[in-house]
Amino acid sequence: MPIFSPGRIWVLATSTLTQLVRMKSFYFLIVFALFVVAASNLNLLYTAAQKLRVVKDTSFGAMSIFSWLFAIAATAVLIPRDLEDRTLYTILSKPVPRLEYLLGKLAGVLLTIGIALVVMQILFTGILFLREVTVLAEERQILASHPENTEADIRTQLDLIRAQGVSWQLLYALWAIFLKAAVVAALTMLVSTFASSSLFTMIVSTIIFLVGHFHKLAAGYWIQEMGDSLVTKLLVKPVLLIIPDFRVFNVVEAVVSGQPVAMSAMLTMTGLAALYVAVYSAIALYLFIDKEF
């Protein structure tokens, strides 16, 4: 028997996916579709470009919320659920290393999030594309009805609107959302290996997730207020080191608004997320390896 088998991890991942699908987690997609359709019909004195931007902002906002919420909720219930169903005993009594069990569970959650994000992206792109076609046609008609607009004027204005439409850059935003969800899922798995209940895991992970967005900002202000003393450093530094910095994954907002992002920055971000997942999985394994059930 191989010490480490990707095949076994895959089996565990797909069974986790089935388990999560049976929990009706994909019902969220119906809510998402309704949300995007509603956003695409929202008109608050919006210009043509803003109409498209609102569809993007609401869709990526919804994707972002879904992904981290799902990453926490799904990962938090997995191990306790397996314990409750006694599936955990069946799996661990077979020659399945605990590392593979943890990685399989994590991969299952990430697979579910990945599939949901891809479906949401397809839905959103379709709606954005249709909206873009309609908005461009309307705007062309309006611009052409004003004789002072030359063909070059019309082209420039339509290009500005197109910049807010469907583009490949939006996939970077989707990837950043997935990376953040992956880190959150790995963190939740780590918490769940020592937590006493799913609720505890969810609460602790949510708190860490929220604090991870502003702890650096808060630490900066605190040091400014309290002075850069040794005591302050001893209090602040461990928090900064232990809690992950989720802010680096917030590029989604800028990418969605049309800011170009360098491939090298995305690669660094991917590497960082992979490192988080690897280290959190390793620590989770350390805590889980001799845990008695």
Binding site: L42, L44, L45, T47, A49, Q50, R53, V54, K56, D57, T58, G61, S64, I65, E148, N149, T150, A152, D153, T156, Q157, D159, L160, K180, F194, L210, H213, F214, K216, L217, G220, Y221, P238, L240, L241, I242, D245, F246, R247, V248, N250, V251, V252, E253, A254, V256, S257, G258, Q259, V261, A262, A265, T268, L272, Y276, V279, A282, I283, Y286, L287
Partner: protein, 271 residues
């Protein structure tokens, strides 16, 4: 025994997290700096928002839901606009442009609400004495200008924002020199439209001391062909010809459209 094992494992796990933190911090800090420099991450200005939008919305902003908070604030501003609560509209648009400073349309809409809608609303408010109405009108027009200024600092090449500022100076403040200046910046900006050149010329013609420059500019447009020879351009050139005492041989052949209009309609006063 069990407790000791738990404590040992917890200490070890925390130590691993600290070591990992020490290793990742330089990479994270450098990536954050780079993303902030590339305008992909919001800078510390987010902290200034905490007093304006409340703690929960502030958390949402930090949590990567900045555009959603901006959409909610736009809804709020729309509601305030319906009830003519101009202070709320101003506050909301200040929040919106802090949240999404790259959205040119939000700068434009905010300035339009303040300089046009709020100013007109106060001017038409018959419950106030005339002097107060005029004072408030001027005040809100100034607020519109003040709102747009940081937008222009952040987007110095935005044709749309310079055009908006030019419009305010033209229609609300009636300062042809500043209007001409902003139309010039609009025509040299990122998305110029052909009429912006004419507008620059029209208001430069009304700017004291710059008549010669305006005449040369408008004549250059005139020479481009019939597409540019619109009634206002002809009228301004004729006006400048008279002011600059251009010899008849060098004057354009067209007749001032205002003179033609006055012949047909004696009460017509032109612009």
């Amino acid at each position: 025994m069990k407790l000791r094992r738990i404590l040992r494992k917890t200490a070890m796990a925390l130590a691993m997290l600290v070591v990992f933190g020490l290793l990742r911090s330089p990479v994270e800090d450098s990536l954050t700096r780079r993303l902030v420099a590339d305008k992909l991450l919001m800078d510390t200005q987010a902290a200034n928002l905490s007093g304006l939008i409340g703690q929960s919305a502030f958390l949402a902003v930090l949590g990567g839901l900045r555009p959603l908070v901006a959409i909610y604030t736009t809804l709020h501003a729309f509601d305030a606009w319906s009830y003519r609560e101009w202070d709320t509209v101003e506050r909301d648009y200040r929040i919106i442009v802090t949240l999404i400073p790259d959205d040119i349309d939000s700068w434009k809409t905010g300035a339009w609400h303040l300089a046009y809608n709020a100013a007109a609303s106060y001017y038409l408010d018959e419950s106030l004495p005339m002097a107060t109405r005029q004072r408030l009108t001027r005040e809100w027009v100034r607020k519109g200008v003040a709102f747009l200024e940081p937008g222009l600092e952040q987007h110095p090449r935005s044709s749309a924002l310079h055009k908006q500022m030019g419009d305010i100076y033209r229609e609300k403040i009636e300062d042809p020199c500043l209007a001409a200046r902003h139309y010039k910046l609009a025509m040299e900006g990122d998305a110029p439209r052909s009429y912006m050149r004419r507008f620059h010329g029209y208001f430069l013609a009304r700017c004291p001391g710059r008549e010669r420059e305006a005449y040369d500019f408008l004549m250059a447009l005139y020479r481009e062909g019939p597409a540019q020879r619109l009634p206002t351009l002809i009228q301004r050139v004729k006006e400048l010809e008279a002011k600059l005492e251009i010899p008849p041989a060098q004057q354009i052949p067209e007749v001032d459209p205002d003179i033609e209009m006055r012949k047909q309609f004696p009460h017509f006063r032109g612009e």
